[in-house]
Amino acid sequence: MHESVADIAQIISGATGYVYPNEYLLQWGLLIVMYPFLTGLVAGAFILASLERVLGIKELFPVYRLSLLAALAFLLAAPLPLLAHLGHPERSLEMFLTPNLNSAMAMFGFVYAWYLLVVLLLEIWFDYRKQIVIWSREKTGAMKFLYKILSLGIDDISPEALRFDDKIGKFITIVGVPSAFLLHGYVGFIFGSVKANPWWSSVLMPVVFLFSAIVSGMAVVLLIYMVTAWFRWKKPGMACLHKMGELLLYAMLVDLALEMLDFIHRLYESEESIHILRDLVAKRLFISLIISQVVLGSLCPLVGIVFARFGKLPDEVRRMLYFLSAMLVLIGIYSVRWNVVIGGQLFSKSLRGLTVYKTSLLGMEGLFMSLGLFILPFVILYVLVKIFPPWTGNEESAGETAAPS
């Protein structure tokens, strides 16, 4: 863990102005960038699913179950970067056993457990219960045994029981929406409540986090929907894509408006920290904030989605535009997380200097680890989709089936 002499010299020489000596090294790296990114995807995917269930947006039916499974896959992976970055992961259970109730971070375990156990697992279970019972009767071998266990010994699929399932499912969704807000708003609060850090300390932070979460969740479900459709030799339904595109567009506009409000508010208030924050943006975050977050991650996909939704284009082009836009949105939201987490540590609290951050390829905080953690939820999703196929057959009514061209 000791830095080499060459590394130290490089870090110190790379810094500009005056940095408190303990602040040359960044404490939170790529892993902590990944953590809010993943929880954002959870919250966003769940909220998208809820729109179908609670508001009855029928066009979203084909992605309802897929969104829930995606949310679960991301949620299962979300605590891993947190755990991996701890100096003593073996003591992590202390956060549950002896939490400091004044600490925002100590609440993570409880918020997470609530969301996983009370909201997501229950909702998925009630939603799939009928299928699980049917599969437990139809399948053979290990899968039969698995579905038997998953049915928790309840095999009543009478119309009354199913009506009850539906009612409970709806109720859980209604509880789930504020829970999803809580999950990601809370992650924003972890940063927004650090009064020592003027880049983080903002009452808007939880709200901005929440809307960026919704944006990223919708984009990732859109991508998953398109890719899974192509893998099954089907064309993703245009009605569903259009509805998701529309919702994504609205969420992006709100997100952008909130971020602009935060930006203008800071500029207008022009507090003591404004000079160093201006330097931070100009000298350290220009590429990740102006280019990647604003231009590539917000403006380009906004234009792309508007064209795909409202332009007079062939469906193939629309699909391609949606796909590219959603990819760009994800890159943009990852940049948001980067700019918050890394950006907030690149300037010294002396407000007089900037330090540097160099990513490595290997190691816990390395690029490969981050990539692995990003790929992991998709592997989990693959397994989940195998166990709980989200394709009901009815989904094509919202889209259209077609042979591969």
Partner: protein, 267 residues
């Protein structure tokens, strides 16, 4: 085996209510006592003027005053601290460090702290344009309202009954939230222990009536240590005799480290 539980084994309603009658006040008492022990206002005094003489059996908080007019930037305090507390020698980890402020006749002040001031400071080249220059030793402010203690998810960082902010190295999970929350850059992650580390006012020494290492070695007595509010304390006498300021007062951390002679550029 199934129906072994008989009504005999269960509490009667009367017994249960009686149990609650005893348990609730006992629980409340324990909670109140616990809250008092965990750093209540009795030993969390920031305003030196209101610090003295609560006399309710609580300990007076320790504090430090730093006379900027006396500091010569020799860096002995930094070295003594590193030796006394086994602070890693690399220039990225400090429990205390010394900053040099160079105020030019015009423009922004320049601040530096090469290797935390441990090896002293290079000469100022452009001496003609310098309005004034001074040294500012920094350390944990042992805040009475410490943000690091607030954010620690497991309570590994805490306030001692005498107002010293400490880290339990056997309990810290190494999440580094406290490092982010400290406005003074006074904490670092120990590269070997992988836990948060910071100034303890040399707690192992002060509990034996010795001075912190940095205070002990200071050749100009720029650092004054003692109890806040104790009339016989050198710290208290210093605070009475000098106009002192605290760092980043606007954050309401209520530091117990006071600076005499610090101009507004210091932060």
């Amino acid at each position: 085996m199934k129906n072994k539980i008989s009504s005999k084994n269960l509490l009667s309603r009367r017994q249960f209510l009686d149990f609650c009658r005893k348990a609730v006040p006992t629980g409340l008492l324990l909670v109140t006592a616990g809250a008092g022990r965990a750093g209540g206002p009795g030993h969390s005094v920031a305003d030196p003027a209101s610090a003295g003489g609560e006399g309710q059996g609580t300990l007076r908080p320790f504090g430090m005053a730093i006379d900027i007019r006396k500091c010569i930037g020799c860096g002995r305090c930094v070295n003594a601290c590193k030796i006394e507390n086994n602070v890693p020698r690399e220039p990225l980890y400090f429990r205390t460090w010394v900053e040099r402020y160079i105020l030019p006749a015009e423009g922004e002040p320049k601040v530096d702290s090469p290797n935390g001031g441990l090896d002293g400071f290079p000469e100022i080249a452009e001496s003609n344009s310098v309005l004034k220059s001074f040294f500012v030793p920094k350390l944990c402010n042992h805040c009475a309202n410490p943000p690091c203690v607030q954010v620690c998810p497991v309570g590994a960082t805490f306030q001692s009954p005498d107002g010293v902010v400490l880290v339990d190295q056997k309990y810290c999970v190494g999440c580094r939230y406290c490092i982010q929350a400290c406005p003074y850059g006074a904490r670092y992650l120990h590269p070997e222990k992988l836990t948060a580390d910071k100034c303890t006012f040399c707690y192992h020494r002060i509990k034996k009536d010795l001075l912190p290492a940095c205070v002990e070695v200071c050749p100009t007595q720029a650092r004054v240590f003692g109890e806040i509010g104790s009339h016989s304390s050198p710290l208290w006498r210093f605070i009475r005799a000098n106009a002192t300021t605290i760092l980043k007062a606007e954050l309401n951390t209520r530091p117990n480290v006071f600076y005499a002679g610090a101009s507004s550029e210091v932060r």
